[in-house]
């Protein structure tokens, strides 16, 4: 019987021994698909590839295995499509355009890796325990984890391909590759709370709206507000061990930029190419959208695998709206009853299930690993009240609201400081106190209050001009401008400005606030005019380009001198 119905990416047909979630090969073209519904023997399938040319009656074969990814050495540095097919190999095999029905192993089967045992013969091991390591890249030591509980009967050091056996555990051979279904979270010991920030080097994020390791953040904004640049900056500069970047239904040229740039860029902490800690998953907007739906799961499963080894992983999904739209599209083809704006009623639970795969965990092997998820959302018309943004905000504790108005004014990153929030501030406060300075929180809160005050004053200025403001209020406007232009504004394209470490962030903000405090004291004696003309202000503006802390000492000293000098 085979195929009985074809409607876009939804195919219905008889599949022998079908079970829900199984991966199938559809028709003579052997397109890849997944069973998403069953009625008797008849399966409803979402095809991950374009179904043009399929005909009624063509066979459907089940692989009798859920849609899954291959895990093992060789993942780092790879560029995959939404269902983990390596795009570079695809190009080698079939040229510049993506063909259909192609099957390529996700991991290189011929490459030999040097396996170094960590467990000895006779050791008792448990599932998830590290039994050996492979140097995957200069930055990442790939930890091979036991697949079963048992006694190590044998463990071999040497060069092996991923399929060759490296150990025998209680009579069972074990190699370095395993498959894992993407829709099933990998097991861990337990979740633990997180008190450490993921440092991104982006001032507005780290200082004002920090994300904790293992947290989840939503970056949202209308087109042109710079979501993708923010995501790229995070992929470049976050202090995670492993970065997984999922380009989900976005622009081909942007993906191309990532693919060309990342091998050239170096990790600021190690000086090694960024690709040595990065996995890219590219499913551009013109590639079949059902695979878009799979791509975020592919990404998070790979993230969990490295988490289980004890790494801190950051996963970026740009954009989860495209994923939600794929859900909506498939739901529509299934003629399901729609929820809000045509999205399926299970939209929120799917989003929740995805973000809940983040977190810091005690791994099965006894270590500690984390996944931080940063998802971008592209709300239609920039309207945050739409279902995807709203559902996402319920499950993420950080909201970076990007703003078209700021982007028009070329203020980047266009994170609106009044609408954004982070619920991790209390959690990470102690980390900043220990590692940077005791008064970090106070400083941050004062600066924030100033910005809030500024926006109120701006309302007045719009109505009746600056003339009606007192000198103190005018000073607030000027100092807020320093905060906005010299602290919040950060150029992604400037060699030094693109990344600011936490100490420098603190010192920069402290200098601005120090200027404010002294200026406020002197304002009645010296007069606003004179204070505003002080040459030190230009130095504060250029302080973001300083590279050592001595520069900030100098600036602070000069602030003191010039403002106290006005006294006499």
């Amino acid at each position: 019987m085979g195929i009985v119905r074809i409607a876009g990416p939804v195919v219905v047909g008889d599949v022998e021994g079908a079970s829900l979630g199984d991966m199938v090969r559809i028709g003579e073209a052997k397109l890849i698909g997944e069973i998403i519904g069953l009625r008797g023997e008849q399966a409803t399938i979402q095809a991950f590839e374009d179904t043009n040319g399929l005909g009624i009656g063509e066979p459907i074969e089940s692989t009798h295995f859920p849609v899954s990814v291959e895990l093992g050495p060789g993942l780092i540095g790879s560029i995959y499509d939404g269902i983990q097919r390596p795009l570079d190999t695809i190009k080698m095999i079939s040229g510049d355009f993506v063909p259909r029905g192609i099957t390529i192993p996700s991991l290189d089967r011929d490459k030999k890796w040097h396996f170094e045992p960590r467990a000895k013969k006779g050791d008792k091991v448990s599932k998830g325990q590290v039994v050996g390591t492979v140097k995957e890249t200069e930055l990442i030591e790939h930890r091979i984890m036991a697949l079963y509980d048992g006694i190590m009967d044998e463990v071999r050091e040497g060069d092996f391909t991923v399929e060759e056996s490296v150990a025998i555990i209680s009579g069972k051979e074990m190699n370095m590759i395993q498959r894992w279904p993407v829709r099933m979270g990998r097991p861990y010991g337990e979740k633990i709370p997180s008190y450490e920030p993921l440092v991104t080097g982006q001032r507005v994020l780290d200082t004002f709206f920090p994300i904790a390791r293992g947290g989840a953040a939503c970056v949202s904004g209308p087109f042109g507000s710079g979501k993708t640049v923010v995501q790229h900056q995070l992929a470049r500069w976050s202090d995670a061990d492993v970065i997984i970047f999922v380009g989900c239904g976005e622009r081909g040229n942007e993906m191309c930029q990532v693919l060309l740039e990342f091998p050239e860029l170096t990790d600021p902490r190690t000086g090694r190419p960024l690709m040595e800690r990065t996995i890219l998953i590219a499913n551009t907007s013109n590639m079949p959208f059902a695979a878009r739906e799979a791509s975020v799961y592919t990404g998070i499963t790979l993230a969990e695998y490295y988490r289980d080894m004890g790494y801190n992983v950051a996963l970026q999904a740009d954009s989860t709206s495209r994923w939600a739209e794929a859900l909506r599209e498939i739901s529509g083809r299934l003629e399901e009853m729609p929820g809000e704006e045509g999205y399926p009623a299970y939209l929120a639970s799917r989003i929740a299930a995805f973000y809940e795969r983040s977190g810091v965990v005690k791994t099965l092997g006894g270590g500690e690993g984390s996944i931080t998820v940063i998802g971008s959302v592209s709300p239609p018309g920039g309207d945050f009240s739409e279902p995807v943004t709203q559902a996402t905000l319920r499950f993420t504790k950080v909201f970076w609201a990007l703003d078209a108005q700021l982007a028009y004014m070329r203020h980047f990153p266009a994170v609106n400081w009044l609408n954004s929030y982070s619920l991790y501030i209390d959690d990470v406060e102690s980390w900043w106190e220990e590692n940077v300075s005791k008064d970090w929180r106070e400083l941050r809160d004062r600066a924030m209050a100033l910005l809030q005050r500024e926006s109120e004053l701006q309302e007045i200025v719009k109505l009746i001009g600056t003339e009606s403001l007192s000198d103190e209020e005018k000073l607030i406007l000027e100092v807020s401008r320093h905060i906005r232009e010299d602290f919040l504004y950060q150029s992604a394209f400037h060699e030094i400005d693109t990344f600011t470490d936490t100490m420098k962030q603190y010192r920069l903000l402290r200098s601005i606030m120090y200027f404010y405090d002294l200026a406020k004291e002197k304002i009645t004696d010296a007069g606003l005019e004179i204070i505003l003309k002080l040459p030190i202000r230009a130095k504060i503006s250029r302080a973001k380009y300083l590279t050592d802390m001595a520069g900030f000492d100098q600036i602070d000293e000069e602030i003191k001198k010039s403002l106290e000098g006005e006294d006499g």
Partner: protein, 460 residues
Amino acid sequence: MVRDYLSISEISGPLIFVEGTKDVRYGEIAQIQLNNGEIRRGQVLEISGRRVLLQVFEGNEGVDTRNTKVRFLGHGIELGVSGDMLGRYFSGFGDPIDKGPKIIAEEKLDINGSPINPYSRDYPLDSIQTGISAIDGMNALIRGQKLPIFSGSGLPHPAIAAQIARQAKVRRKEEEFAVVFGAIGITYDEASFFMRDLQETGAIERSILFINLGDDPAIERIATPRMALTTAEYLAFEHDYHVLVVLADMTNYCEALREVSAARKEVPGRRGYPGYMYTDLASIYERAGRIKGRKGSITQLPILTMPEDDITHPIPDLTGYITEGQIFLSRDLHRKGVYPPIDVLPSLSRLVDRGIGKGKTREDHASVSNQLYASYANGRNARDLAVVLGESSLSDVDRLYLKFAEEFESRFVAQGGYEDRTFEETLDIGWDLISMLPEEELKRVSDELIGKYLRGRKER
């Protein structure tokens, strides 16, 4: 085996259902023969057992359920392409309409194309000179980019499109350049204006036009941009041309898409447009680009009219999420008599950074652009302020900026419909304007550039 089916069971809008079919393939094209011998074309949208749902491109007027014959052709919609297509006009479905000779196809290509492997893409790094300062100076068009023009009804986007089609060029001699124009549901007046304009200026020699007029079948509009892009891909990736594809008007395309969706009784998304419109538009816009190891490029300039000038309407909104920036036409500037009425503030070309500068356009390009942008933004703020508080209450600097904004609009943005400015001319006008401002206000240009370009100008 070719079979004719006489088994149409239902006709609904642009759709027909054919029963009892065998061996039909999804996406296949069908030929529909009416009782009077007229032949139309349709495409398979859905197959359910032996029942096939067809979308008929030319519409269903005159189709009946008794005598109309349907034959499936065994392939998708194809376009025969050839280098001889340059200088010719075609219908929205790819048939020659200029009474010229038939095109002898060098290759037959599926008009849906295939997605470019992201790994094979090459980054856009070079610009196209359109001769329009507001574009070239402020938001240069980069080869391989997709940069839409967001317009509104009554704004002169047809004239701008024609001017770009006429003037656009790549600047290195050895490079070949072509314009493919996909007219989607435009009026006869607009179409004949284009054709006449291209003929008279000789630009037709390097152009190919696909024309679907407002009174042509609406469903054909779904094929027209794909015809244009298939031709463009052939020229760019087989014959090394830098191809500029102008698609006007994408709003009409989206409406055709909605029409099919409504006829299929699909769950509508925002404003009745189908939920898959993002994906569908992406399958058009994403066909812009460059490929590693191939010389040509495809640059897209889609034009769309925003209903009620509303940028949050689904058509401009989804377009903006896919394309790499936008050129924004402003009704205010148009009312002031500025042609082209391009508002540079909300306009943006995302890929501009690497496509301009030394060796490509001129070293000062990015700085001049940033300085003009910042100063104009200040001028516009001053103008807003003047409206509320009166011009007399502005500070001296603000008054200067106000004057700058006026001059910027009348000298830099405004230009003749047949005035073709080079990058250098555009930048020089920019420096003329910058010289109105005191040097301490110029924060976006380096001292070096000021020394080289500005001081000499002031002395003169």
